[in-house]
């Protein structure tokens, strides 16, 4: 059912490629390429063709695009947001074209969302003969996939540190993702969801009644894309901690949590600080109130809104008497440094939880 061999692709963020794939193949009726999983190579490649001081998610995007182009992608897409992300698309497009690649670029920042004409014209880049009816039909299923991914991952986050057989969660979840790749409709999704929810719940745990909880916050990309935070959630779980995170597509896109966040953060930040910074502050407050023993903020180096959130987080830390640890990542962050700091963090929160 593909049209004029368009091969569309978004850069990776977490596991959402599976949801996008459904939307583009069933809604827009074009092929969707899930880019190869991010590796060190992706980042190296991306960094090589990115400006030096741009925030690191840009470099990941560049790397993903380059790998996808080599695999035949010809319609690259980019989202927009409340910070430098608003300018990602144009610069991605410009650099890749300068390198001599041939492709179409669908830049959501170029769309005037108040004008139906502009929306229509821009979406035609993806498929000039797209059928609105099909897209409307595919959209709810797409949202359901997103919700399911987030629900499963939340469950894993809370429990993976306590699995009896190492790697069981990982294996089960990967199996689920594999099946998602060739999903045909909403019905199948429902069935799949049921089966795997059961499977995940059936995994043997050795979980004490009282666990050490840690809140995980940070910029939109770094907190959600495990590769870019050096799989920190996994590392934390290895210490036997229960990881809490609010930031995901369900909370931002579907539940619109950021509106509530503005309010929660009000005592510390009266105004919008840009991008996800207010969410970061609100989440920290929420996790502190909910009994987390510590909070970890991850962000890409130089992320302006998250930097401005840091002095605020330090105040939250003082008021709620909760340690907050900050991590900044660029393309040359050392893994050992992270491990050492995490160990020290664990020792501290463990001591504080009076175990």
């Amino acid at each position: 059912m593909t049209h004029r061999e368009v091969v569309a692709c978004f850069p990776h963020i977490a596991n959402y490629a599976y949801a996008f794939k459904y939307l583009f193949e069933n809604g827009f009726e074009v092929k969707y390429l899930i880019p190869p999983p991010i590796t060190k190579n992706t980042l190296e490649l991306g960094s090589k063709y990115s400006p030096d001081y741009v925030c690191v998610p840009f470099k990941y995007c560049m790397g993903c695009y380059l790998e996808a182009l080599d695999l035949g992608a010809n319609c690259l897409m980019q989202i927009y947001g409340g910070c430098r992300l608003n300018y990602y698309g144009e610069l991605n497009d410009c650099i890749l074209h300068d390198m001599g690649y041939k492709f179409e670029f669908f830049d959501m920042a170029a769309v005037d969302w108040h004008s139906p004409k502009s929306i229509f014209e821009n979406f035609r880049i993806i498929n000039p003969e797209m059928s609105i009816a099909k897209i409307v039909k595919a959209a709810p299923v797409t949202l359901k996939i997103i919700k399911m991914l987030d629900k499963f991952e939340d469950f894993i986050r809370h429990n993976v540190g306590f699995e009896v057989n190492d790697g069981e969660f990982d294996r089960t979840y990967k199996e689920f993702l594999k099946k998602l790749e060739n999903l045909s409709d909403g019905k199948e999704l429902k069935k799949l969801g049921k089966t795997y929810w059961k499977k995940l719940n059936g995994i043997k745990l050795n979980k004490p009644a009282k666990t050490i909880k840690v809140g995980f916050i940070g910029d939109y990309y770094t907190v959600q894309e495990p590769f870019s935070n050096y799989f920190m959630e996994k590392e934390l779980a290895k210490f036997g901690m229960e990881v809490y995170r609010q930031m995901n597509l369900t909370s931002t896109l579907i539940n619109k949590e950021h509106r509530k966040s503005q309010k929660t953060a009000k005592k510390y930040a009266k105004f919008n600080l840009g991008a996800t910074a207010n969410c970061t502050v609100a989440e920290a407050i929420k996790f502190a109130k909910e009994g987390c023993a510590g909070i970890i903020q991850v962000k890409s180096f130089g992320c302006t809104p998250e930097i401005d959130a840091m002095p605020i987080l330090q105040n939250v830390s003082r008021d709620f008497n909760i340690p907050v640890l900050h991590f900044s990542f660029d393309s040359q962050t050392s893994e050992t440094g992270i491990k050492t700091r995490l160990e020290a963090f664990y020792d501290m929160v463990e001591a504080r939880s009076g175990k």
């Binding site: 430098r84 300018y87 610069l91 300068d98 009266k270 840009g274 910074a277 302006t304 930097i307």
Partner: protein, 304 residues
């Protein structure tokens, strides 16, 4: 009641506007001095490491002001001429309040939070009311202040235009945010070096903002930031009239990190050099780099 105005960030865009406004409503105010070693060090010490230098300087200037006035003036501006501002300008009020929380500072501010064309006027009105000034007086002060800023900019631009037409020296376009060009620690050393090398510095910031933003649309469709568009447009308008371009940026500037890349790609035929200033090394090493940059331009000119 005394108002303290930090000589940082937006001050360099609105100097005449603000000072005239406060003069007209009869408010007493002080402006912090030019950046000095002490202000820089204080700013550096109270800031998060990764903060861009101009924001560190803002905090340094506020620190200087704290015990010398009753209210500190920290406007918040999210949009300018229909375009976005760097997120630092959205966050600065909250950033300041959180950084100096224990020192009980009182802030005076106005908030331009959306794109509406009269938002600034309304915001200033609100501030005037807060200060207990009569409405008619605010209105008059606002108009006068706006005019003062306008004339100041117009005069500045005309003067530069004259230099552009008449000077026989090598002309170097200095592309940098207003608060970088004007700062004693950031812009001044560069301007000084250029002059000592016998060049005529042309300042992108001095070009008419509206005209520049319009010109920038030819080069970039989606660039979100008003200030960067202003600078980009200046290059577009002057590309045939200057001999070289300096992109002077402060570390780590979010918007410049991307815009400068675009500039280098779009103006391949123009000699361009990027200078980055941070809080540690300042403009160290800059002189030698500028010297060879100017040498190359000189050679090119002689050959042509």
């Amino acid at each position: 009641m005394k108002i303290g105005i930090p000589r940082a960030l937006l001050y360099y865009k609105n100097e005449k506007f603000w000072t005239t406004f406060f003069d007209e409503i009869g408010a007493e105010y002080i402006v912090s001095p030019e950046t000095n070693k002490e202000i820089l060090t204080r700013g550096e010490n109270i800031s998060i490491d990764e903060t861009c230098l101009p924001t560190k300087l803002l905090l340094g200037h506020i620190d200087w002001l704290i015990d010398k006035c009753d209210y500190i003036f920290i406007p918040r501006v999210a949009f300018h001429r229909g375009y976005e501002m760097c997120t630092k300008f959205l966050a600065q009020t909250d950033l300041v309040c959180n950084t100096f929380r224990d020192r009980n500072i009182k802030t005076l501010f106005y908030n331009v939070y959306d794109k509406k064309y009269n938002r600034e006027r309304k915001a200033v009105k609100k501030m005037g009311k807060f200060l207990g000034v009569k409405r008619s007086r605010i209105k008059y002060a606002y108009t006068t202040a706006k005019q003062a800023q306008q004339y100041f900019e117009m005069f500045r631009e005309q003067h530069q235009q004259k230099v552009l037409e008449e000077s026989g020296k090598i002309k170097i376009l200095l592309v940098a945010h207003a608060y970088n060009v004007g700062d004693k620690y950031v812009g001044e050393p560069v301007l000084g070096t250029l002059k000592s090398l016998g060049c005529e510095p042309i300042i992108a910031e001095y070009m008419n903002e509206a005209k520049c933003i319009r010109a920038s649309l030819e080069v970039s469709k989606t660039m979100p930031w008003a200030y960067n568009r202003h600078l980009l447009g200046a290059i577009e308008l002057l590309k045939d009239e200057v001999d070289g371009v300096i992109l002077l940026t402060t570390f780590p500037c979010g918007t410049d990190s991307m815009v400068n890349e675009l500039i280098v790609r779009k103006y391949k035929e123009l000699p361009i050099i990027t200078l980055t200033v941070d809080s540690q090394d300042g403009t160290a090493g800059m002189e030698t780099r500028l010297e060879s940059f100017v040498d190359i331009i000189q050679l090119k000119k002689e050959r042509a």
